[in-house]
Symmetry: C2
Subunit: 327 residues, 2 copies
DNA sequence: ACTGATCGATTATACGTATAAGCAGTTGAT
DNA sequence: ATCAACTGCTTATACGTATAATCGATCAGT
């Protein structure tokens, strides 16, 4: 038994398929009597009719999908709340947010698989939006291609900035204001996040020229080796809260006092930051745009009411220090 | 300019649309000359042809989508790796994994929005798979409806078990083996996870009848109030690693020694567990089934080669203690 | 040289929906 | 009384694809 179609509903209600469509979408220009309206709705409910998204997409020419191919799960409550808010805002405007894995495929191949769904918008990490990928998406009808977590404006697409340098500079300024002079920044060795680490380190250098760059894998051994150095810096930006915790543990084991001997700043302001002892000082980046505003902008781009030239910055983040005990 | 269709490719290659379809899908029963094959492929590449997933879905009757409507982001590297592996296994079999928010919609309304995409399979949390929801999905053509994180077999759908009681029992056994006699378990007050907390607490009771149930919100105040009690238990299962960290911090501030005065066990074995001081002992649940096996089973259900009756348990998790310093 | 069979393609059709266009029957204005 | 305008519906069509059915040409076997 196949799922009921609008034709089945029409037959059950004794009307034409067109009428069913008019009623269930209550289309603006449609003129249908109240009594007929009721009959159609009742029949649809009784049969358990569910519209066929593919058929609708084929007919209308667009799927109403907004694709969000994230290669890493955004951890933390913040990101999840953001996603929820975005989804609701999109739903209100008739879009459907779809999160979509696709880690393995690269460049244009990934873009091809996105394009098959004929989304109206694609929000992806800037790194994956290469020239051929963007061309492919555009030519397949995607209205808005938007880069996420960009460090700088993109020559290809409008971006949602996430200014790692500003984050690093913010942390460094706090350390300097605490009287620290020999600054350093941790740069993770993990592939994929290393480039963000470099950005944050550069931000530190902007405030404290010549700040040391400490390349560190996420392991207790490497952290212990760092902690046992005799020429430790007196102020450290640890890339994020997890690295901060790793390093602080190692420092603690090595008998180095935090923050007396070395002040440490994390990033992201995770839940654990407030639970550690000593409590972790952390920089966080708050979006200057609400999810609703962001979605509204995307909607305008999709509808062609707003230009979406490259170089445009849709939204920014403003870094802020949450001062606790480690710095 | 609209995206090129298979008709455009056909025109460019000087063949019929049917031939294009045969070539690009290399259909088993199709007989096309090698020279023509090449011409078609070349034309498709030159025009940047991307097949239209909706049109294909409409024609074939199924979308090849596997829907994964998760209401909470699965945090932690483990879950993300699992997702990646599942996605690749699905891709190899021609499916597409789509992650899909939909926090707000409840019951049948959520099911309706899933059904619109005509997925072949839906993997959702058991709580959301109510009777009407399952009926709706089934009648809209979904072949496999599978419940995730179930505590017990479902009367409606096959489930992927996540046995919270077993997890609690495992933690309790470890505490007992350490000589602890007055056990307690934290049950979070946060809505949505409270029921999992209750399951874990019940597991503790199975090993240590009469174990105390400690309802706790995630706040330092409540944790401090607990830590200042005079009648503290001597063994605590803290629900998960974050709660464990919260409680241990509070105990530390109150001058209670861990593990001497009170042994604490977390759950999930997060990265932070190994970084805390003292290092956190944690129970973790490892899947007994590889993602590939799970996907293979789903594939069999979809293709009708395997019955998918309710009560069937697709895969289990086996709990395991990672012993560190807090217990 | 006639008949099947095989090869390499084409033609035709249906999937489920949205919407433009059309068409009776009724109402309102002059 | 006549015609236009409106109401409440139906008919017809196209979206892009997969695939069954068909068809001309070449070829092997008697």
């Amino acid at each position: 038994m196949k799922p009921p179609t609008s034709v089945d509903v029409a037959r059950a209600a004794g009307v034409s398929q067109a009428t069913v469509s008019y009623v269930l979408n209550d289309s603006p220009g449609a003129r249908v009597g109240d009594e007929t309206r009721e009959r159609v709705k009742e029949a649809a409910a009784r049969l358990g009719y569910v519209p066929h998204a593919s058929a609708r997409a084929l007919r209308t020419g667009h799927s109403g999908l907004v694709l969000l191919p994230l290669s890493q799960a955004r951890t933390g409550r913040l990101a999840q709340n953001l996603l929820d808010a975005m989804e609701e805002a999109l739903r209100e405007r008739g879009y459907t947010l779809v999160q979509y894995g696709e880690r393995r495929l690269k460049g244009a191949a990934a873009a091809r698989s996105w394009a098959e769904l004929r989304p109206v918008a694609v929000l992806a990490e800037v790194d994956r939006l290469t020239r051929p990928a963007v061309d492919l998406l555009k030519s397949s009808g995607v209205k808005a291609v938007i880069g996420l977590s960009a460090e700088r404006p993109s020559p290809l697409v409008p971006v949602l900035m996430y200014d790692h340098e500003a984050l690093g500079a913010c942390a460094a300024e706090h350390l300097v204001s605490r009287g620290r002079t020999r600054l350093a920044a941790v740069v993770p060795r993990e592939r994929g996040i290393d480039r963000m680490g470099v950005g944050r380190w550069r931000g530190v250098c902007r405030v404290a020229p010549g700040a040391e760059r400490i390349d560190l894998a996420f392991s207790e051994e490497e952290a212990a080796r760092f902690a046992s150095r005799t020429d430790l810096p007196d102020g450290l930006f640890a890339y994020n809260d997890e690295y901060a915790m790793l390093v602080i543990s190692a420092l603690h084991d090595a008998g180095v006092r935090v923050p007396e001997d070395i002040a440490v700043v994390g990033a992201d302001d995770l839940v654990i930051a407030g639970l550690m002892r000593p409590r972790l000082t952390s920089v966080r980046a708050d979006s200057t745009t609400t999810p609703g505003e962001l979605i509204a902008m995307i909607d305008e781009i999709v509808r062609g009411e707003r230009a979406a030239g490259p170089g445009v910055v849709l939204s920014g983040y403003v870094p802020r220090v949450v001062v606790r005990e480690t710095a």
